[in-house]
């Protein structure tokens, strides 16, 4: 598969009379778009649109998903395929246009108990990559006929459909920069660089139920067996997020669209190694599923002829067991592994970082300690609801103070310890 990515740099995001893209300025008719979103589901009770820009004294919470606006300029398929009848075509080929520098952010009342925070300035802004994007924020509320599952599904749809609609603005735009990514069918790819080590990527996805789910071509990944992807498929939305609980280390959809491990592996593809492709796997809630999926991952890696893999985890706790099983079984099959994770090492950093361990895991990269405590000063503007600060994961009774400031673990901040390395935390050699 060969995919051209054309980036259109968004220099300005603003509300205005008509919805249009011109000279790097994305203008949105606020009323028209809000009305269109309301029509996406009859159970939507309220829609409010805001723009949050880097450096503003603005807090967005509770954040459910962050999505990049893209469109298929050439080639088959649709962004985030497999959700609607007729959208089943495979993606990852042709040309994709990206509105770079802006994002769609969804918020509204909490679905269950835990979602994230984005501060656009102050100390919290340093801990989220989404303080640097110009954000179109959708505050969406649903009516009381919805249960938690309906609520989550509606908000997920609202974010994705809005991103796709805004992405259409880029269809005929001239890209500021273009990059081509290509991965060939396995046999051809192996033959292209016969003297380089064959490297793969084991891409672990959350799959543990409400607010812990991920979708592959519209399919709930808790129901899949591990499978293969061309790396370019994710750039067209083959993976869609349905999770944001303990928001620091969950992958919003924009992280999958820009999947850092995949982009980095392409950097030295054909130079230092032969990047063969991606194995998608899940993190289910029974031991039998964990054993089966990790066995399957090891089998696929051997079948692909891999010499080494990078394994990334999503989340923490019991998924640490999936990470360790993948590591151990791949190493036992003679395949070298590097693990990407984060840590829950306690507020003083003195506790065990992961719930499970193996001597085979001798090459591990951490993306930070999620239990680190931070004080987030009050912001002049709040988009969403801050009353949930005491209940979201990483907060506690009393996290939200009377002056509007919040003291909590960085666990509450969307993307703070992203395990794909999407943001800036990492342990450095002393």
């Amino acid at each position: 598969m060969k995919l051209e990515i054309g980036n259109i740099h968004v220099k300005e995001l603003a509300f205005g009379e008509n919805t249009a893209l011109s000279s790097g300025r994305v203008q949105i008719n606020r009323e028209e778009l809000a009305g269109w979103i309301r029509e996406l589901d009859h159970r939507i009770a309220e829609v409010k649109l805001d723009i949050a820009l880097p450096g503003e004294s603005t807090r967005i919470m509770p954040v459910k998903d962050v999505i990049e606006a893209r469109c298929k300029a050439e080639g088959k398929g649709f962004m985030f395929p497999g959700r609607n009848p007729g959208d089943e075509a495979m993606v990852g080929e042709g040309r994709t246009h990206v509105l770079k520098g802006m994002a769609i952010v969804t918020t509204g009342k909490v679905v269950g108990f835990q979602e994230g925070i984005i501060d656009m300035s102050g100390p919290g802004a340093e801990y989220t990559p989404f303080s640097k994007t110009q954000n179109l924020v959708i505050t969406c509320e649903v009516d009381d006929t919805c249960n938690q599952y309906d609520h989550e599904a509606i908000l997920r749809r609202v974010g994705i459909e809005t991103a796709n609609r805004i992405g259409q603005l880029a269809m005929t735009a001239t890209a500021d920069e273009t990059r081509t990514y290509e991965t060939k069918p396995l046999i051809q790819q192996a033959a292209e660089y016969p003297n380089l080590p064959k490297v793969g990527y084991v891409y672990m996805l959350q799959s543990q139920g409400l607010m812990h789910d991920t979708y592959l071509y519209g399919v709930d990944v808790k129901t899949i067996l591990p499978t293969l992807l061309y790396p370019t498929e994710v750039m067209d939305g083959a993976i869609m997020s349905g999770n944001c609980v303990s928001a620091c280390d969950k992958n919003p959809s924009i992280v999958h669209q820009n999947s850092p491990v995949i982009h980095e592996l392409y950097e030295n593809h054909g130079i230092k190694y032969n990047f063969m492709g991606v194995i998608i796997t899940n993190e289910n809630v029974t031991l039998a599923d964990k054993e089966r999926s990790s066995n399957y991952v090891a089998k696929l890696a051997v079948q692909m002829g891999l010499d080494a893999v990078i394994i990334s985890e999503e989340g923490f706790g019991n998924p640490d067991a999936d990470l360790v099983m993948n590591c151990r079984k791949l190493e036992e099959a003679g395949i070298k592994t590097v693990l990407l994770t984060d840590e829950y090492a306690g507020q003083n950093g003195e506790s065990q970082s992961l719930a499970d361990s193996t001597p085979k895991g001798d090459a591990v990269i951490t993306n930070g300690n999620a239990n680190q405590v931070i004080h987030l000063p009050a912001m002049q503007r709040l988009i969403g609801h801050d009353t949930y600060a005491d209940m979201i994961a990483g907060g506690w009774d009393g996290s939200l103070q009377a002056d509007g400031s919040i003291t909590a673990e960085i666990q509450v901040i969307t993307g703070a310890t992203n395990e794909l390395g999407y943001h800036n935390l990492c342990a450095m050699a002393g």
């Binding site: 139920g209 809630v285 031991l287 019991n318 499970d356």
Partner: protein, 66 residues
């Protein structure tokens, strides 16, 4: 004092050093299964508790998964 660890992810129980381990159903519902009808689920729950009591009263030499 003997202790039984009823847990879904047995490898973690082994890693943390539990001596008597009884495998559970699933992480969100270790001692039940919402997909079963109530009578079947009660039988399942009873069997897990009885297995745990057996483990509690069994002499062991090493880490043991029952």
């Amino acid at each position: 004092m003997p202790v039984v660890h009823i847990a879904t992810v047995v490898p973690i129980s082994l890693t943390v050093g539990a001596n008597r381990i009884v495998p559970a159903v699933a992480i969100p519902h270790p001692l039940g299964n919402p997909k079963m009808d109530p009578a079947e689920e009660k039988a399942l729950r009873r069997s897990l508790v009885e297995k745990a009591l057996t483990a509690l009263t069994t002499e062991i030499e090493d880490q043991t998964v029952f």
